[in-house]
Symmetry: C2
Subunit: 489 residues, 2 copies
């Protein structure tokens, strides 16, 4: 296999020929979700971007070990190592054991990823399951003099590190600028310097998630888990580290610093970052409160949504932008994607039944070359999709008798079209049950509205009828502040 | 709620009134799979048995924290603490990282459990994620003098323990008999006594799964993980510990010894054990090579299978035996279960449409009492199912016009039948689109009835709302002599 694959490396700001350390093996680590809430559009994008890359690398013949973690501890409310652990906070609110929250949202994340046809990673390690490995790294960093202990917590000494290794090589930030732009330290702050970051935090007495360590009962800093789990499952250095652009700084920058502080080695050859999804131009995220969960998208239950959008609709919408380009959410864009997807899948069905002819009126081999060139150019799915639409045009013309393809070309087209649409882009036909779900959603909306009216008018016979019938259909209604929701058991 | 629930406690060999430590909370720990191969019938049984118990406890109003672990380390080839780690062996054969094997089979286990309609546990901890907690327990046991260190490994001293606490209280075995029946130690054996068991094993140089500990780089003994994770997520003591009868000795016996050796406390109030599935009278298990995987059952691809058996068929087959009774596999038994399940689900559909009468010819309240009495008697699902078949007879008789039920009794029967069949036994109709169609049919019936009522009462706002919303969903209603029908365009 000739190697023509170029990937954009954030570290060099260039497209580089992809050369893994131990071909045909490829090690890829991608930052996974912090499981304290439902997955939203902003989670779908990295999952789908790196699913595309995982699928294409496998298609090229690489044996990919793909590690995507579950962050179940240590991610604080803000990234300045303060505030409350996100998972512990949710746990207290719901009176649950933190791991119960973790399990609940991990299960839901898996369900959403399955619906989006995102392949499971080869290994899905949990941060809380790798405390020993994280402690060992901290011990190494302390031994090498790049960290200091204050009151049972351990902090990474960025300034000292920067004297030996340049800090900021991934993000392009300079330590002098960082120092001048970050806020002054409070008197209470344990850090020597505002740009230092926590490797280990001593737990407050009320903190539930805690482990014994040489420094205190506490918990690891957020940046450490990826360093520990990447190294454990992929070795050091490994080939690809992926994640959202919002993680480049400080998270990935700190990962590099942690690894180099242990043994002077840069942990990763290729750093790949997907761009963000914006919603009407604004960043979408849990902390901004403007996010739309995947479940809301699939059901259409959100004020910003004109209708329900199926998982494949969302997947195609995301694939229609290059992973490094920003992508703005709108109903119009999703509906355009829905139409495009329908065309692509319909042509896939047509392709199976069109007859071959004596000559070819289109250059199928050139089309195939174009498809591979697009994907080899840093996984450029929108360009690949535009070539697939050219294939759709050819397929429909042959079907209409306006063009023809030889048996050989038709065979090639079938193989390539199927491979690109179903395996590499990971699209699939959504069955009637998907439509039924929309229908059920619509009928339930109507019933909930009638119930509301009948209660206002005190027509108890109607609301009783609804209650009994829904109960027989095993549907539960739940009245909340934001209206009535329903679920089946 | 009156508490009439009795559970058979292996510890006392008696049915005891179920009294949780902190009602309405119940803590339940069940030994989960060792993920080094596909799940087979022998995995389905404990999963379904404790799913039934989980569902019934929740139905009774308990808030159940259900912990079921994933054993991903430390389970050796045989139970005498020798041989190779089961997962590491598989990994070497397939040239995979052990955690890749773990992830692969964990994903497949989850898929099979979903198909069997086994609810996910509240927390699903992995043994490898709790090494710190296991090390802490070993340190405690050593401090208390119930373990000894040999060449970097740590063993539990059963004889010394037995001088303070009786060993064998769960299985009823006596230490004298165990000593006389277990094999003599080799000269190379590190144990002082053949009945001692490993708490920590020093890893051989080729062993991949290893962690740093105060004694050696190694891995924990198998019995330890459940002690650590049960204590961590459910506290000590907790209410219910479940598992297969094959785990009672030595696994659960050792769990009790480990907990008592730490603080003198018995870790669990109620020990529940499901009996085994035999195949033509023989124990089924990975090591015996006569197992049928769930995937093979679902697809019919196994020499012993006459046909494919659906997940619900398997579930119902298992529920038709009491969880403490042995259950023998045969094609005839599975096919009988298939017929029974069909009857039960069909009667469930019939029940939704039968009319009420002026009197009741059957005693529905007595039937309901019988259902609860069966389940309250140590979760006796076969007896409960026999009462459901009595309900099937009544439903079909009413449908045939041979019996009648008052509106109140019909309502009671509907609620109870649905609750027992779908929620407690966890059965469901398997034609997925069929189910959705049933749901759409049911919702449309309700909407048509509301429309009829609103027209009679001249509430035009409601009937207009229905017309507009259905029109938006592209549903047409047609009023005819025999009532209103509907279709989509």
């Amino acid at each position: 296999m000739e190697n023509n694959l170029f990937v954009y490396n954030t570290l060099s700001r260039e497209k580089e020929l992809f050369e893994p350390f131990h071909p045909p093996h490829v090690g890829m680590y991608v930052c996974g979700p912090t499981v304290y809430g439902d997955a939203h559009l902003g989670h779908a994008r990295p999952a789908i971007a790196f699913d595309l890359i995982f699928r294409y690398l496998k298609h090229k013949g690489y044996k990919v070990r793909y590690v995507r973690n579950i962050t179940d501890v240590g991610h604080l409310e803000n990234d300045a190592d303060e505030g409350e652990d996100k998972i512990a906070k949710k746990a207290r609110l719901e009176q649950l054991e933190p791991m119960e929250v973790v399990q609940h949202y991990t299960n839901r994340y898996h369900r959403d990823m399955d619906l989006l046809n995102v392949l499971p990673p080869s290994i899905e390690p949990r941060a809380s399951g790798h405390i020993i490995e994280q402690i060992a790294i901290i011990e190494h960093i302390l031994q090498n003099g790049f960290a200091y202990i204050v009151n049972g917590s351990v902090y990474f000494d960025v300034e000292k590190y920067n004297r030996k290794y340049p800090y900021g090589i991934l993000s392009g930030r300079k330590i002098e600028e960082l120092l001048s732009t970050t806020r002054e330290l409070d008197k209470q702050d344990e850090k020597r310097n505002s740009i230092d970051f926590a490797l280990w935090k001593k737990a407050d007495p009320e903190h539930i998630m805690r482990w014994q360590s040489p420094w205190s009962e506490g918990f690891p800093g957020w940046h450490l888990e990826c360093t520990a789990m990447g190294k454990k499952y992929l070795g050091e250095p490994f080939d690809i580290h992926g994640g959202g652009l919002d993680l480049m700084f400080p998270h990935h920058e700190c990962e590099i610093a942690q690894s180099k502080a242990v043994n002077g080695t840069s942990p990763v050859r290729y750093w790949l970052h997907n761009n963000m999804i914006t919603i009407e131009g604004q960043k979408m995220g849990k902390s901004l409160g403007n996010f739309i969960t995947l479940e809301e998208l699939f059901s259409g239950q959100h004020p910003k949504l004109e209708k329900a959008y199926s998982p494949m609709n969302i997947r195609f919408f995301i694939l229609q932008a290059h992973y490094r380009s920003p992508l703005d959410f709108s109903n119009a864009a999703l509906q355009a994607a829905e139409k495009g997807l329908k065309k692509l899948l319909e042509a896939g069905n047509t392709l199976q039944k069109i007859p071959s002819g004596n000559n070819s009126t289109s250059d199928i081999k050139a089309l195939i070359t174009n498809l591979y060139q697009a994907m080899d150019d840093d996984f450029n799915s929108p360009i690949a999709i535009s070539h697939l639409f050219e294939a759709v045009r050819i397929i429909n013309s042959v079907n209409d008798g306006k063009e023809s393809l030889t048996k050989e070309d038709l065979g090639l087209l079938k193989t390539t079209y199927n491979e690109f649409v179903y395996n590499i882009l990971g699209l699939k036909s959504e069955t009637e049950s998907g439509q039924d779900n929309n229908l059920v959603e619509g009928l339930m909306e109507l019933i909930i509205e009638i119930r509301k009216e009948s209660r206002i008018k005190k027509e108890w016979a109607t609301s009783d009828l609804i209650r009994d019938k829904l109960s027989a259909l095993r549907i539960q209604l739940k009245d909340g502040k934001e209206g009535t929701t329903w679920n089946t058991d």
